[in-house]
């Protein structure tokens, strides 16, 4: 279905057409073999195909997320599209300007000033000296380097380096933008600026190819997803469908791995018994265990400035270990400090203690803006009325997002575990809404 849809629009607006793309890495046993191959022209290598027979096309304004395990060929694909690597087979038709944010900050000469490097690195990506003179003030403003721009780059912090590099590569609106996990650059306010700039490109009709391990970002940014598996396209289509399929596959693999770890001779009901009593598997909690990894306690050191989570308290917990939730409702009060006057968003995640996710909730998904407090902080109170869970231990995490819900300012991952006791002794995880007739 997707294929037909693609083919129909191919003539009209495709900015990137990839046909039967393949990349072979030639592995030589030693550099000497490499020279022998150079001199004789004979094949002295074993080949490893990082990509094989990959075909797809991108239309103007589309945003595609690339997912896949490590070693599935994501980076190779991005490098081929960016043109830094030559394909061993197939063709890539590009039209317009392609900008790749692959690994930032490379190519700056440490002895030259930031401004000097700007002009030189600009000419490497096709920005002429005259053009650069026009772009320069905007780039320096965006990079927030101010006077430091005339200092040698070797005096820069890594953050300054990355800021300058990002400001430079995104100074000109590209037709295709290739982003490789680069959203995690700089401090939180710069990260936000980066995301805003990328979103702005997207609104102006730039095609974006985005490679990330974060399903959250792919889900929010991308119209379609491409799943690479062992160098081949496993699935290409609507984001949600691909992510769900990928997730299911990952879970299956994990299960398989666990099975191998436990050994085939462990009877399945023994495994079931163990997971029924999570405590019995909690060996590190034994009194004579030398080292105990505990979830961080709630008395965290709160930084003095910048957006962060201030507190995320659960009501009605007793003092046990783990604390037991008294009452039927789960009420979480999350207090955060935002970024200036921008309205932040708050997320919350509930998991079974041994790792099965139960639900994720975020204010920006539900239009529930946090409430401004007199001291300038923000507060959201989340209430699960009559918590529909069975007995067990549960772990919670809290997240702080920016207004768009794309930049994660702060997260308290699995910061608290609590025990919930459901009075009826029926096994299960959640009590779904239901009716009998």
């Amino acid at each position: 279905m997707t294929g037909m849809h693609m083919a129909k629009t191919q003539e009209t607006a495709s900015v990137l057409v990839v046909k039967n793309l393949g990349k072979e890495y030639k592995l030589y046993d030693s550099p000497r073999q490499r020279v022998k191959a150079l001199l004789t022209g004979r094949a002295m290598h074993r080949s490893h195909w990082a990509l094989r027979d990959v075909s797809f096309s991108l239309e103007r304004g589309q945003c595609i997320g690339v997912i896949g395990d490590n070693g599935a060929g994501k980076s190779s694909l991005l490098k081929l599209l960016a043109g830094t690597m030559q394909p061993s087979a197939g063709t890539i038709e590009r039209s317009g300007r392609i900008t790749a944010i692959l690994e930032l900050g490379a190519g700056f000469h440490p002895d030259f000033s930031g401004r000097d490097n700007l002009y030189f690195a600009g000419s490497l990506i096709g920005i002429s000296q005259e053009e650069m003179r026009k772009l320069e003030p905007e780039i320096i403003a965006f990079s927030e380097l101010q006077d430091a721009i005339d200092r040698p780059v070797k005096t820069y912090s890594s953050g300054m380096n990355v800021r300058l590099a990002f400001a430079l590569v995104t100074a000109v609106q590209p037709d295709v933008l290739i982003v490789d996990e680069a959203l995690a650059v700089g401090d939180q306010s710069f990260q936000k600026k980066c995301i805003e700039r990328i979103l702005d490109f997207r609104q102006k009709g730039c095609t974006i190819l985005f490679c990330s391990h974060s399903p959250y970002h792919i889900r929010h940014l991308c119209d379609a997803a491409l799943w690479l598996e062992k160098g081949q396209v496993q699935m290409f289509g609507e984001t949600e469908a691909v992510l769900v399929a990928y997730d299911a596959r990952t879970r299956n693999l994990q299960k398989e791995k666990d099975r191998l770890q436990w050994g085939e001779d462990v009877p399945t009901d023994a495994l079931a018994t163990m997971s029924d009593h999570p405590d019995s598997a909690d060996l590190p909690d034994a009194p004579d265990a030398p080292f105990v990894v505990k979830p961080p306690d709630t008395s965290r050191v709160v930084p003095h400035e910048g957006a962060c989570i201030l507190s995320a308290d659960i009501e009605n917990l007793d003092g046990g270990d783990p604390p037991v939730l008294r009452g039927d409702d789960l009420v979480v009060t999350i207090k955060v400090r935002g970024n200036g006057d921008e309205v932040p968003n708050v997320g919350f995640m509930l998991e079974q203690k041994d790792g099965v996710g139960i639900t994720c909730i975020a204010t920006h998904e539900e239009g529930a803006e946090p409430v401004r407090q007199p001291d300038g902080s923000w507060q959201s109170v989340l209430r699960f009325t009559d918590l529909p869970l069975h007995s067990g231990d549960y772990t919670v995490s809290a997240y702080l997002f920016d207004r768009s819900g794309l930049a994660v300012y702060d997260h308290w991952f699995q910061y608290q575990t609590f025990r919930f006791v459901y009075p009826k002794p029926l096994p299960g995880l959640v009590r779904l809404p239901h009716s009998w007739s």
């Binding site: 030639k26 020279v35 191959a37 190519g107 000469h109 030189f120 000419s123």
Partner: protein
């Protein structure tokens, strides 16, 4: 020769960028020094001045029969300066791809630009020095028309150095030992070039060995142009042209065999 022509086309298409990269390379060679751009010029000038002072003023050594000049220093300088240019360009050009590895892995640029910019940066320094030398030697060659041979000789030396550097840069990417091997060859090479002695002093039966050195013909050409004001012998031009043709074929083969994996090797 399709691959070779393609490389030429790549350089031509990016000529503005090559200009920027060359200026930058020259600047990088003296970055952070107080004297700045004078340094790259000063180093060869000082060596040349030392040769002149030691051999012609202090010791006043004389060469015997068969030399195109009898003053040792005057003779030595004519060969030594182009040899310095050659060594500088080849050793920098050879390492240029390895050095540019991180840039090439992040920017879609043709690799050929990097050896080209290294060699051009060297000739930007040594070219003017050669012309300056020709001016200083007016009392020796008396501005006879043979001096004009200097220009085609310099152009051909540039071309030969470009090809050799590119070929060695690809080799160095495949095998790092190339840098050491060639470094050694360059330091020994001055004795296998008729720089310190006139070719007449070389045993007759072994003279053909000198032609296996790509710089020998150029050094002899410069000697006849600058020391005698004579147009160099046909042999000089033929050997130089053959060297260029052979290197062009070698580069063509190397680029074709390494093109799709060169950047992975860096």
């Amino acid at each position: 020769m399709r691959t070779f022509l393609h490389s030429i086309q790549e350089v031509w298409n990016a000529r503005a960028l090559v200009g920027v990269m060359t200026r930058r390379e020259v600047a990088a060679r003296h970055a952070g020094t107080a004297l700045g751009v004078i340094w790259p010029y000063l180093q060869p000038l000082l060596s040349v001045a030392a040769y002149y002072l030691v051999f012609d003023i202090v010791f006043a050594m004389r060469l015997g029969e068969g030399a195109s000049s009898h003053a040792v220093g005057t003779f030595l300088i004519v060969g030594a300066l182009p040899w310095m240019a050659f060594c500088d360009a080849v050793s920098r050009g050879m390492g240029s791809l390895l050095e540019a590895g991180s840039i090439l892995q992040k920017n879609p640029l043709p690799p050929v630009l990097f050896p080209v910019r290294s060699v051009l940066a060297s000739s930007w320094i040594f070219g003017p020095l050669m012309l300056l030398l020709a001016l200083c030697y007016i009392p020796v060659h008396h501005m006879q028309w043979g001096v004009l041979a200097l220009l085609p000789l310099m152009a051909m030396q540039l071309l030969m150095t470009l090809l050799l550097s590119y070929a060695l840069a690809i080799f160095a990417a495949a095998l790092r030992d190339t840098l050491q091997l060639v470094g050694f060859a360059l330091s020994v090479g001055i004795y296998l070039t008729p720089i310190l002695f006139p070719i007449a002093m070389f045993p007759q039966g072994w003279r053909w060995l000198l032609w296996l050195n790509p710089m020998a013909s150029y050094v002899m050409g410069y000697q006849s142009a600058l020391l005698q004001g004579q147009w160099p012998a046909l042999q000089v031009w033929v050997v130089s042209a053959v060297w260029i043709a052979v290197l062009a074929v070698v580069v063509n083969v190397l680029v074709r065999r390494s093109r799709d994996q060169l950047v992975d090797w860096l």
